[in-house]
């Protein structure tokens, strides 16, 4: 059993495919060559360009443009936005997938569909909805104005739009995983005298750990990189309501290429870190899912 698992792990690591695939060598190499050329042209070259442009006037210019007050405040706002949006969606995602995977209730299929809504609509529309809703001429606008609450063209609006755009990430990863794992372990914990919270903390959460981390990484990447929805609702007030992606655009439009690419390079670094973390979490996450599937089949004797 242990040996079999090990072998399977190694095979998965080596990406060994069944021998039955017997395309001629030429076909295989052509396919590989096309893939690499495409990735080189459309991914690697632009990435390289970002760093070349950012460092075009030397390291000093690079760091000076990052040290700019407006840039720093854009970085701060992006971090704040992510710091609010990610935990909010973490809680929502766990709650929603817990509800969907482990309970039967009215409107469950509607909820499952609605979770995907932010993926289905263009982010610009999401932003516009918030403007329509909270804006000065929107439904809640006058009331908010009377109570001196600023949402549109302010930080709360940016955070709200980001939360909306990123909320499917965690839930989408967890729902299939939790469904595969079923409720037996939770029931076992209950029969052993564990309370609801203990069951969640000691049984449910450890079982979905990697799926959760995977979802959070994706959620965070999107929260930091979101442009469309935030662009509509932020009002582009320099130093106040500018996130990093918006700031890149502003700098670029002002022909400040070093500045624009310097900020862009930071986002790129975030993206690359995300990729590495994502691959690792994905690998662990797959193990979790495979185990869940095996347990359901009751395979090993």
């Amino acid at each position: 059993m242990a040996q079999r698992t090990l072998r399977r792990k190694i095979e998965r690591f080596l990406w060994r495919k069944p021998r039955a695939i017997t395309e001629p060598l030429v076909v295989r190499w052509t396919a590989i060559a096309i893939t690499f050329t495409f990735i080189g042209l459309f991914l690697v070259l632009p990435l390289a360009a970002i760093f070349t442009q950012a460092l075009a006037s030397g390291l000093t210019a690079y760091f000076r443009s990052l040290w700019d007050t407006d840039t720093l405040s854009a970085i701060r706002l992006t971090l704040i936005t992510a710091a609010v949006a990610v935990p909010v969606n973490l809680v929502f995602g766990v709650a929603a997938s817990w509800a969907i995977a482990k309970f039967e209730f009215l409107g469950k299929s509607v909820l499952t569909t609605l979770i995907d809504l932010p993926f289905a609509v263009s982010p610009v529309i999401s932003g516009t909805i918030y403007v329509l809703f909270f804006g000065l001429h929107g439904y809640l606008g006058p009331w908010l104005k009377a109570h001196n609450i600023e949402i549109v063209f302010a930080v709360p609006g940016i955070v709200l739009a980001t939360v909306f755009v990123t909320f499917p990430f965690v839930a989408r990863e967890l729902i299939p995983l939790m469904q595969a794992q079923g409720t037996e372990e939770e029931e076992a914990a209950l029969t052993l005298g564990a309370g609801g919270w203990q069951t969640f903390a000691r049984v449910t959460l450890p079982n979905i750990k990697w799926g959760l981390i995977y979802g959070v990484i994706l959620c965070n990447a999107r929260a930091m990189g979101e442009f469309g929805a935030v662009s509509v609702i932020s009002g582009h007030i320099r130093g106040l309501t500018n996130t990093m992606p918006l700031h890149v655009e502003i700098l670029y439009n002002e022909y400040n290429f070093v500045g624009a690419f310097a900020v862009a390079s930071l986002l790129t670094v975030v993206a690359m870190i995300t990729l590495v973390l994502k691959s690792f979490a994905e690998w662990k996450f797959k193990e979790e899912s495979v185990q869940a599937a095996e347990e359901v089949e009751g395979l090993p004797q």
Binding site: T5, E185, A188, E295
Partner: protein, 357 residues
């Protein structure tokens, strides 16, 4: 600790899983709930455990006389063993067994040392001491189920409930674990209910067997009672192979397919449909009629690999008949396929369609 489940009904949507079922299990007894899938046996077990609730107002659960109908699963202190083990996959065997001890309230929780001793003692009980550090994925099915049992016993449950505990195992492991469970029960004497769809398992392990069908309890009795005196056709059919002969009863006689026998249970002259059920080993084969009621048949197929010889025959009237003989008797008869023989039933269970005639 006795278990009483009284007048339990349970619906899942429009489907009635249990219809007014009552079950009483005496202290120290091991009772098997036996039935085909969908008969409601697992639902009944889950209602006893508190994992499921009976329909509102329909039924009461009492453990040792105490009404626990409205109490949660944690309060009832039942040990529950799941068909697919439900071991915590991210914990070692040791941690799995210790779980029930660790989640107790601080004031009731045993010390680290006490927990360690308790877990080791349970591992010895299930004879798997050397697996303490392993994860569930590294165990065989039989080992997992024994660990699951140790985990359930850790909380010193009032009652032990087992939901098809050996259902996912291969035949050989299943038989071993069955004997082992019987011995364990004799040792611990904890009141237990075992759900199974395997009649052999139920008859071998349990003190009493409750046979369930379509949300109802058909019969509740010792293995010998239910086997030798089945309450109805379903029970007899479910507890092993039978030959079914369709026919009728009238005027103290039963005419069942190719045979006619005395039937004192119904002396009335009116005719009612009935069926005669005969176990394959309750049919005798003779070369010639010996005066007892029986019927002529032709031998079709003989399978002598096994503890008894299985013989397929076709009655003159066309019915397929299955007979099981001891090897000695088979040799004495020197049967061959194609031979004409005479089949004599030793015991026929006649079931009359009630409410007719």
């Amino acid at each position: 600790m006795s278990i009483e489940a009284l007048g339990i009904s349970k619906h899942f949507g429009a489907f009635a899983a249990l219809k007014d079922v009552s079950l009483r299990v005496e202290t120290g007894e091991l009772v098997a709930l036996l039935g085909p899938s969908g008969s409601g046996k697992t639902t009944l077990l889950r209602i006893i455990s508190g994992l499921e609730k009976a329909d509102a107002g329909a039924g009461m659960v009492r453990l040792h006389g105490e009404d626990v109908t409205t109490k949660g699963v944690g309060y009832r202190r039942v040990g529950f063993v799941f068909q697919h083990y439900a071991l915590f996959r991210h914990m070692t065997v040791f941690e799995n067994i210790a779980f029930g001890l660790r989640v107790k309230r601080r004031s009731q929780r045993a010390s680290r040392q006490q927990i360690r001793e308790k877990v080791e003692q349970l591992l010895r009980l299930v004879q798997l001491e050397w697996l303490a550090g392993r994860y569930p994925a590294q165990l065989s099915g039989g080992q997992r189920q024994r660990i699951a049992l140790a985990r359930a016993l850790a909380i010193e449950p009032q009652v032990l409930l087992l939901d098809e505990p050996f259902g996912a195992l291969d035949a050989k492991t299943r038989q071993e674990l069955r004997r082992w469970l019987r011995r364990l029960h004799a040792e611990l004497h904890v009141t237990s209910v075992l759900v199974t769809h395997d009649q052999e398992e139920a008859l071998e392990v349990a003190d009493r067997v409750a046979i369930m069908n379509a949300g109802r309890m058909e019969q509740f009795g010792t293995p010998a009672e239910v086997f030798h005196h089945p309450a109805n056709e379903f029970v007899m059919n479910f507890l092993g192979h039978v030959n079914v002969f369709h026919g009728r009863v009238e005027g103290g006689r039963a005419i069942l397919g190719p045979m006619e026998i005395d039937y004192s249970g119904r002396p009335h002259a009116t005719t009612v449909p009935a069926r005669g059920l005969v176990r394959p080993y309750d049919l005798e084969i003779e070369h010639h009629p010996n005066g007892k009621p029986g019927f002529a048949a032709t031998v079709c197929h003989i399978n002598s690999a096994g503890p008894r010889v299985k013989i397929d025959l076709t009655a003159e009237s066309g019915e397929a008949v299955h007979v099981e003989l001891a090897h000695e008797r088979f040799r004495a008869l020197a049967l061959e396929a194609g031979q004409q023989v005479f089949v004599v039933p030793r015991e026929v269970n006649v079931f009359v369609d009630e409410g007719q005639g």
